[in-house]
Amino acid sequence: MSDDPIVQMTGIRKDFTGVRALDGVDFTLRPGEIHAVMGENGAGKSTLIKVLTGVHAPDAGRIRLDGRPVGFHGPAAAQAAGISTVYQEVNLTDNLSVAENLFAGREPRRGPFIDFRAMRRKAKALLDDIGLDLNVAAPLSSYSIAMQQLVAIARAIDVEAKVLILDEPTSSLDRDEVEVLLGVMRRLAAQGTAMVFISHFLDQVYEICDRMTVLRNGRLVGEWATADLPENELIGHMLGREAAELEQIERTVAGHRVADEAPLASAAGLGRKGSIAPYDLDVHRGEVVGLAGLLGSGRTETVRLIAGADRADSGELRLDGAKASGHNPRTAAARGIAFCPENRKTEGLVGDLTVGENMILAMQAARGWARSVPAARRDRLVAEFIEKLDIRPADPDMPVKNLSGGNQQKVLLARWMLVEPRLLILDEPTRGIDVGAKADIQRLVAELSGEGMAVLFVSAELDEVTRLSDRIAVLRDRELIAVLESESERTVEHIVDTIVAGGRHE
């Protein structure tokens, strides 16, 4: 393209204590293009965005917007200059209503006073536009992360910015929502908005982006037009290793189930009003049971009952054949059930504690606070999981809040794998995790189940579910509609068919 760039960053360097997050990075964004920034977890993608939008000041380098040098001293200034951003973590205030979050800072006013009626009307229209039907007066906290993510996106696209930046906007979205988002992006691109898109979903990147900039370990690898860079080469550039290595990792793993054994956990008519219809589900030792379904189909709700995070109001749960009464998170932990929830921000990590401390939390809690885990054992386990999950930087003493989003997710996973539960429940474990690490995690899950651990696995990514699971429970409209057992049934197509058909016979 010959157009003058709208954003030009040259020689950007950013140091955090002990970590050089960006080193001599150049980045160019042209009007009307959708530009992907690619790289592994911790490569520096989010940092690049934060430097551009004034969250962090660069230690070296220049930024030009429309040819003029700029240095924003905060997101507000960047917004005022026409750069609208959705940061990686959903950053909204969930104590305020949906409408207020959409319009915070730019509420429609009558004189000095906010016109709440107009605000709700505009909010409704804005959400309608992306096909979302929410109660805009309800507090944002009453909606799921996915909805919150959509609200954050709606907020960002409404401001008619010159530049729109989306840092992993699709990490908790399902296909339909992603389609809608991509549609909106195309429309904006046609209107001349330049966009930066960061995602670990390569198919989305290839579908929507014109150009990509690849980073590795804080350094620029290069910039390519999407058409000139096949997927395996891209992966090679991102990881610095051959894509072929990955292929080998992504083999199908199935069939660890210990034959003819009574189920470890067995739900009979387990349900909760307004959340999930009564369902039957067995999980055996050494087995990975996947849960598939669209967003809002009740995947999370299903596992929360087994994890004791929600109380069932019908049916019963049997563990080792004995009725599990008074099931709550504490007793569940005592019974060998570990639950890794989907929302790492509010239910997971303690930002100020170190990587090691965060990892050890669940294990320590299981032992009771009086009996501390011996230091040597602790250090060994922490080191082992840092290596297994390839957490970077591999420093157990780094405060967790300083890690990149994907690496935080890995720490959370390690916490629950570390307790060596009999039943491990993973809700969207690979959200925001790069292709290489995803394979690592899948391999680790396979390995753990090979050792006899039972795993309940929730994921929006159907390939991941099919690749990993021995059996797949399919959900639709808060109801478990089928359990797919045979190999021939465990395909993405069959799952989709089941979901569609599940709607018909109602």
Binding site: T93, I130, S141
Partner: protein, 342 residues
Amino acid sequence: MSTHQLTERPSRSMLFDGLARYIPIGATVALLLALYGGGVANYPKFDSPQVIAKLFIDNAPLLVIAVGMTFVILSGGIDLSVGSVMAFATMACAWLTVDAGISAPLAVALVLAFGTAWGLLIGAVIHYFDVQPFIATLVGLFLFRGLTLQISDTDVSMRDVEFFQWGMVHAVDVGEIRDGGFWLPNLSFVAFAVVIVAFTVLHYTRFGRGVYAVGGSESSALLMGLPVARTKIGVYAVSGFCAALAGVLAAFATKSANPLANVGAELDAIAAVVIGGTLLTGGAGFVLGTVAGVMVWGMLNTLIAFQGNLSSWWARIAMGVLLLAFILLQRVLARSGEKRRT
């Protein structure tokens, strides 16, 4: 554009979510009614309207500082300096009119401006130097108590008493107290005006909603591009102004300045705000709840006065117990809130 509708995950138990916000303030109002009912049942004359009116006469200054405190706590901060600033403001009114010979209206204007400026300064320190509000405002607590005592360690009477008389002039006077009438002075109406303005600002202006946003999550508010600095500094300015105004109201009420007045008033204000249902962690609460919280405090004192044989410390003891109960109630609600969302 898109014709197809996305799956909407129904916002679970929304009704409850909506109502949960009102449980603490509901509890406060219920408590208030219970205290009042108890008083009426046990003491003759407790049902006189003047008992209620007197709450707003005796506690007008407390109400004003509690309103300022509500802003600060909603934003996730705390202001420990208000009691001292208030005492200093009263003393400054006396000093400016007596020693400096300035006219009373001008003195009042100067004091209010000073309170606001102090708030701005401490807010800027808190925001730009990232100092804990607790520590930064503790500075004010010591500084202004010291300065007040430095000006005078004994009571000082106001000059220009005619001007200061205005505060206690009956603004409304309905019948004889003996026949079930009541009266309220001008200074109560000043306090009411503060409440109304605060309510309007908090609920209907960008600044007010920004206070809630910053209290909900400061880092999110920053990334959303909200004017976090202005908001954080603003709440301390509001609190400083309110503290100075409360000092002026005290000057109106007593026409003298006592250097040891209002020791611990900041804690009474915090207690009233929390009992009024505002979360100490910020982001949730109502200024009208604070009014109820102040009324609870006043009602306890009234009950003890009617009882006649109890020391006034019982009001503090009761307040302590209530505070504990309310903090626990908030925790329980917050927990069940966390549990309910996925």
